[in-house]
Symmetry: C2
Subunit: 451 residues, 2 copies
Amino acid sequence: MDIVADELIEARWVLPVQPWQVIEHGAVAVRNGRIVAIGTAAELAPRVAASRVTRLPEHALMPGLINAHAHAGMTLLRGYADDLTLMRWLQESVWPAEARWVAPDFVRDGTRLACAEMLRGGVTTFSDMYFFPDAAIAAAQRAGIRMVAGLVLLEFATAYARDAAAYLHQGLAARDRWAGASNLHFTLAPHAPYTVSDDTFTQVATYAAQLDLRVHIHVHETRDEIEQGLAQNAERPLARLRRLGLLGPELIGVHAVHLADAEIALLAEHGAALVHCPVSNLKLGSGVARFADWLAAGIPVGLGSDSVVSNNRHDLFAEMRMAALLAKGVSGDASVVPARQALHAATLGGATALGLGAETGSLEPGKAADLLAVDLGGADSRPLYDPVSQLVYVAGREQVSDVWVAGERRVTGGCLQTDDAAELIALATDWQLRIAADRPSPDNQRGRTRS
Amino acid sequence: MDIVADELIEARWVLPVQPWQVIEHGAVAVRNGRIVAIGTAAELAPRVAASRVTRLPEHALMPGLINAHAHAGMTLLRGYADDLTLMRWLQESVWPAEARWVAPDFVRDGTRLACAEMLRGGVTTFSDMYFFPDAAIAAAQRAGIRMVAGLVLLEFATAYARDAAAYLHQGLAARDRWAGASNLHFTLAPHAPYTVSDDTFTQVATYAAQLDLRVHIHVHETRDEIEQGLAQNAERPLARLRRLGLLGPELIGVHAVHLADAEIALLAEHGAALVHCPVSNLKLGSGVARFADWLAAGIPVGLGSDSVVSNNRHDLFAEMRMAALLAKGVSGDASVVPARQALHAATLGGATALGLGAETGSLEPGKAADLLAVDLGGADSRPLYDPVSQLVYVAGREQVSDVWVAGERRVTGGCLQTDDAAELIALATDWQLRIAADRPSPDNQRGRTRS
């Protein structure tokens, strides 16, 4: 017994992701929140002195899923505005609702609901972009989920800040207040090319370099954004970011639905990362991003849910499956994006894109013990010829049985350990009633029939 | 009390589908397997003398889902061949495995597994196309699910039949043997234009007219099929079906990924129906069918899972969500295929396409009590602004709590009443071990890493 561990977790299949292999009857040893050993159970059991042994006989044990793009604070608006064209969605539903409701308590409670949903669904890290990051961070810390807090910046006033300088100031102040918190990381998050000025982008580039922060930004989400950029600046938004010094390894570009070949090559050459949000891109009618081409170019790619106003789930199993299926369907080649690549994007790809590749995303000694067990023992998962295929094409988040963040159990037997379901339901319902009561009259709504 | 019922089911929301409305605090009364009344609980409770009252306070009660295209007998090959180009998928995996394994016991056990999965996921009717229909029907009857048995025909020999005449003979004999069985319907199912001759199609048309059977066929699934048809017959497959007398209200065309405007108009004009299998079409790289255009043309449209070798779930919630999302994504218009249309296709659209529109697909007095309750009370379903949005964009099949087929409860509290989960798992695992052991050597397989 040469390895001391707090917990030894044995599972039918262990997927380290890096290196890529499937360990049959595998095991992972965890100590002080970190992985200390991985191998077959037969190898590890005699070598590990563990305070606790967990056996998962029908389960796949894998790295926790990374939701590389979310607006968790919007969760209280889940399903508030569906089936609307993008401009009606924004102008008639999302922006007015945000103007009315966004405040620290709304962000805190929405993020709390989102964290519960994500943890139960096997997400151990999420990268967020929203207002009032203090409130969101407080919710994530309480839930015990790893968070990359995006310090949002834009030019126009909201309840959170009056101008870009104030956004930056408040964001950095929040970062200072949470210095030393565990499972917490930061990005600068200028909202999008069409909402941020050249001056602000230049400042973002300076701060990103000085503070060693990545830059998390929506980019090339729609054709309109690109056309508007061309009209206003005589350049495509990505070219503008490049001119302003933001095209580098610190860039995390989200959506990127519309990229030319040369732009993909440029992103790859500069070491920038991308985040694919396939469900949101479909639901808002933005199109289908060139996920397979990004991977082929060697770009680090993560998957994201976006907000539940455009999804309407924080469900990385759904994104993983959709990413693989869409890539095949639009290319006409069923061998494009095999299950393995989708699973990689949902784990190590996302971690790498967020700059956390040394901390999480794979089961390697020294990394944080961010882990997920998926029960593949049910009849709907049978027969099982390949656990990776089953995880991507068959499994749903409801099969997640156990989740650890930095070695701490957050979900056990499918039940969240860090929050109370009844309390969450009451909280969400209370908000729902207030928000629905305050909604503009039905005449302003689309023609849903209600009894 | 002027209505006598075996069961009165009260739910937070009742969705009859026809007429389209959401009844808040609704109720459905069932007698002798049929719906006898529907309305608000306040209206019905004083009028109905029910032997049993079921209250579902957080649930949506809706028509059972219709899986309008499946090959249930292939379920023992779930995940057997993923991420392969269509021709490798067929030639190197599916056809050899079928040649080796397809026999009555394989079909019976696979169909049994599929029926369990479908019922737990809220599917009350499935339309099947596979060999050995006797074995499949026996499994469906045991499960208590409504089945449309497709009597398959093709030209080449299998373990089931040696030529088209034998297929037809055996299919019609099976139909005779099951005459009088409840919850059972039939179609003639010529496999596809590229596997069936002109003579056989002419015979199919004659029998369809004489026996009042619909014709269930794969058509225009891939560009190759159309090009091959043009090369061999100097006409597109749909034109050939028309020439052979098969383009009429009896036609149920499956996949139809590649249709020209004129073909859509022609199908609509002749009253033919289509089945959209969006997940399978993506996974096999076939493309994206013009679902929104079909609906706009007034074609009756259902949704199907296809087999779990190309899906890998029999999950109509996944198809419904995918159908809505894809239509938006490929059109660039988020208002295309609103939740309501997707839900209609998964229920009454499917029933109408199958010729069962008078029997199932909506909650109307006189129809069979094929019902489904979805629990929308969980935290992941909150907040809830619109139950239809929640059913399509948020809900998963794991939220199905109760299912009735012809008034008989098949699922209660998420548990299947008509089969034993442990037995199913053992059965599927036994087949899996035999099939995997017999698989061609790994050298013939794609480069999956296994430990």
